[in-house]
Structure formats: structure tokens, C-alpha cells
Symmetry: C2
Subunit: 247 residues, 2 copies
């Protein structure tokens, strides 16, 4: 099977990492809209317009499936992408809600959703979790976490200070939904800040769980063919991909 | 006179503020490329492409002058904008270099340039200051300052921690070039961190100084006509403009 993975930038590579670990797909076509990144500060209509353009780009490749690795796009533009796409489209938000439903047994568990401003404002996770019966939900837009990762800050005093800044009025959660594909890169620091008993829900793992349940016909491939495209500076994206994915 | 002010987003409003304070221009047309902001993390070729598109947009207005309020665009795309523009184009980088030359008398003064990754990588300020005879120059990309301002963080523990992060290996400067139009909003905090004897060079004031010297025919207008355009969500831009500019 041939899959397209779409993200606003490089963050979706954390989803590709999960796909590779589970040896899914024969061919992975990654597209990062690096010329217009980040999406998380942008408007609903703009995000939808960019997402439909990504579907048009993927039409060049005769794909079997599109994975929306970007939480912001998944929160706002999944229906519109499905309307325009000739193949199925799955997104990390739906996957994350499903993974929470499967992984968190207590419906009164305190769940903290963190993400970009756009993702949090959409209330996509919140609504989905409530529909699954969860009652105790906190949500916090953590707009600086993407810039931190882009600056290669994954630990240290500045990141800890930002945790105190964002989480000062947050009740200690039982689980945290990492509602942005950049956030797995600071998951160790988050785990340390909130102590080890906090469950972290990771978009990449959530997508793999959904695919293994719903697309049981997917055959394993130890060496998938990988292609990386970007709307600017694809060489830089390929460089980061090589480093992050050890390819 | 009718002027166009171009910025990647809302930061250029700090330049408009200076123009208003000095009562320059009869009509100010502001264009913020909010659908593709920020430019400071992007590639040279992308920045040039977006800048030429802004010139095309301004052709609708029969302008007398274009002011590039964005340091990143000024650093990379001024020549290309001039090639495509029917009217003169001035940029904040050239203005900042000129203002430093006029305002800092000692050529051995320690000057610190701060800006986005793209602006610092361009070495536009560095080269210009060296050509003016300055010998003692430090430059630091401070990628988090724009996100801080976008998050309305202008002071406090987190911002101070980021100063320690970025400036730990910086020798105390005599002057700082605020090489990004967002930075005047954290200038009080910077002034406090580096103590009161540090001179801050501000893009908006630098442009006004250049205009008053070179465009002496500009007539003063106490109530200029202001128009704000944005590539996404112009209402939000107008809202910020009203607040920042007290209009």
C-alpha cells in the first residue's frame, strides 16, 4: 500500500517514525508545507484552503490512503479533504480520541489536552472525548512548544519555566494528549514535570493503533520506499528526516 | 503622499506607529501576509517570491513609496522588490544601519544585532555596519522572541529565562539593534536586562529618520487615511492595529 503523510512542516515526521517502527506501508510519500508553516496560529479558512491544496498535490501519486499527521489540519479540514480526495483520509485527532478511549479505562480520569492555539480553539479533542464519555477534561494552548522544538530546545531551564507558565492553573492530570506532532520531542521533559504516572497519548502511536485495527489488510514491509516533498527547501526537510528517522 | 507598508504579519504596525507619531503621509496602506507568517524561519527564495507578490498587490494603489517594515524581507528581497516596483522602496535594515551610523559615535562600540534566524543568517546588518566602519559586532538569532510577542508575553520570568538562554555567551553591548519589528514590544524588558545605558535601535524610528532626511518634500498630515489589508483574517489585524495604534 502507498500512503501520503501530510503535515504543515517537519512535525509529521514523528508520525512517519511510528509507521516505520511498525513496518506499515510499501511506499510513504511525505509532504510538508514548509513555505507556509506553522498552521497552528492561522485561520480556519486558510487551514482548509491549504489542506485541499495538499490533497491536490497527492493526486500525482495514486495513493491508497492519506494520513493527516498535523493536529491542526485534522481538527479543521478533515471533512473537506475527504470531499476532495479519491482515497480514504485519516487524521491524528480522531486516532488520538480512539486511543484515549482504548487506553484510559476510568471515564473520570483527568485528561489534559495540549496543542496549538488553532487546535485547542477547535475543541475537536474535547468534543470527541466527551462523546466517548470522558467528563474531566482540561485544555491548554501551548503556543511556544512548537518554536521550542524548532529551536532544538527539548529540555532545560527555559522549557521548565514555560511549563510553570502554562500549567500554573492546571490540576495534575492522569493523562496528557500530545495534540501536536512536535510534542513527542518534549515528551520526556513533560513526563518528568508531571511525574512518571502520567499517561502520554502520542499521535503517531495512535494512528498506528487505528490502522492496525481498521486496515487489517495492510501488509508489513521492512524496507518501505520513502519520498519527501516540501513546499520550500526540500533538502532541509530530507536532512531532518535522515536524522530523526535514522535512514 | 501615499505609502504602502509591508510586513509578514502584525509586527510592522510598530513602524506605522512611528509614522503616525511623526505625522508622515496622507494615506498609509498596510499589508500583512498573515496567511504565511512568519517569514523569519523561511528560505531566501520563498521570502523573495512572497515579497514580489506584495509589490504586485501594492500596484492596485498607485503608491508614492513602499516601506518594507519586515527586517527579514529587507535583508533578502529589497533589490528584487525595487526591480518590480513602479515607486521607490525603502527597508528597515538600511535605515537601521544608517541610524546606527548617526547615533553611535564610537566606531569601537560593542553592537549586538538580534533578529530572526533568516535575518541573522543574511548578515545584512553585519555587512552594512562593517561598511560604516564599526568593528565590534555580535549577532544572535533569537527565534523565540516573535512567538513570545504573539503570545502577549512582554515581561516576566519566562522572558527573563529566555534572555539568559540566548545571551549567556554575549558580552555586554553598548547598543542593541532590534532587528525585528516585533522586538520593540519587549524593549523595556531588554533595556532592564542589559541596564539603562544600552542604546536600543528601533526600526520604526530609524525609518522615520531616513524619510525625514531623504524625502524632505513629505508634507505633514495630522490625520492620515489608514487602510489595513491581510492575506488572512484582516479583521484580526485591524483589531490589533486599533489597540496598538490607539485609533
Amino acid at each position: 500500500m502507498k500512503v501520503g503523510v501530510f503535515d504543515s512542516g517537519i512535525g509529521g515526521l514523528t508520525v512517519v517514525k511510528s509507521l516505520l517502527q511498525h513496518q506499515l506501508f510499501e511506499e510513504i510519500i511525505y509532504f510538508g508545507d514548509t513555505a507556509r508553516v506553522p498552521y497552528g496560529i492561522k485561520d480556519k479558512n486558510t487551514i482548509i484552503r491549504y489542506a485541499i491544496e495538499a490533497v491536490e498535490f497527492f493526486k500525482n501519486f495514486d495513493l491508497d490512503l492519506i494520513i493527516v499527521a498535523c493536529n491542526t489540519v485534522s481538527a479543521y479540514a478533515l471533512d473537506e479533504m475527504r470531499e476532495h480526495s479519491p482515497c480514504p483520509v485519516v487524521g491524528v485527532v480522531e486516532a488520538g480520541i480512539r486511543a484515549s478511549h482504548n487506553g484510559i479505562k476510568n471515564k473520570n480520569a483527568n485528561i489534559l489536552i495540549i496543542g496549538t492555539k488553532a487546535t485547542i480553539n477547535s475543541k475537536a479533542y474535547e468534543t470527541g472525548l466527551k462523546n466517548k464519555g470522558f467528563t474531566n477534561i482540561q485544555a491548554k494552548a501551548t503556543g511556544l512548544f512548537v518554536p521550542f522544538v524548532e529551536e532544538n530546545i527539548y529540555e532545560g531551564a527555559l522549557l521548565q519555566e514555560s511549563f510553570r507558565h502554562y500549567f500554573k492553573n492546571i490540576t495534575k492530570p492522569d493523562a496528557i494528549i500530545l495534540g501536536c506532532t512536535h510534542f513527542p520531542l518534549i515528551s520526556d521533559a513533560l513526563q518528568h514535570y508531571f511525574k512518571d504516572d502520567v499517561i502520554l497519548i502520542h499521535s503517531g502511536d495512535a494512528i498506528v493503533e487505528q490502522l492496525e485495527n481498521e486496515f487489517t489488510f495492510i501488509k508489513k514491509h521492512t524496507k518501505p520506499n520513502l519520498k519527501f516533498f516540501a513546499s520550500e527547501n526540500p533538502e532541509a526537510l530530507r536532512g531532518v528526516a535522515k536524522k530523526w528517522l535514522n535512514i
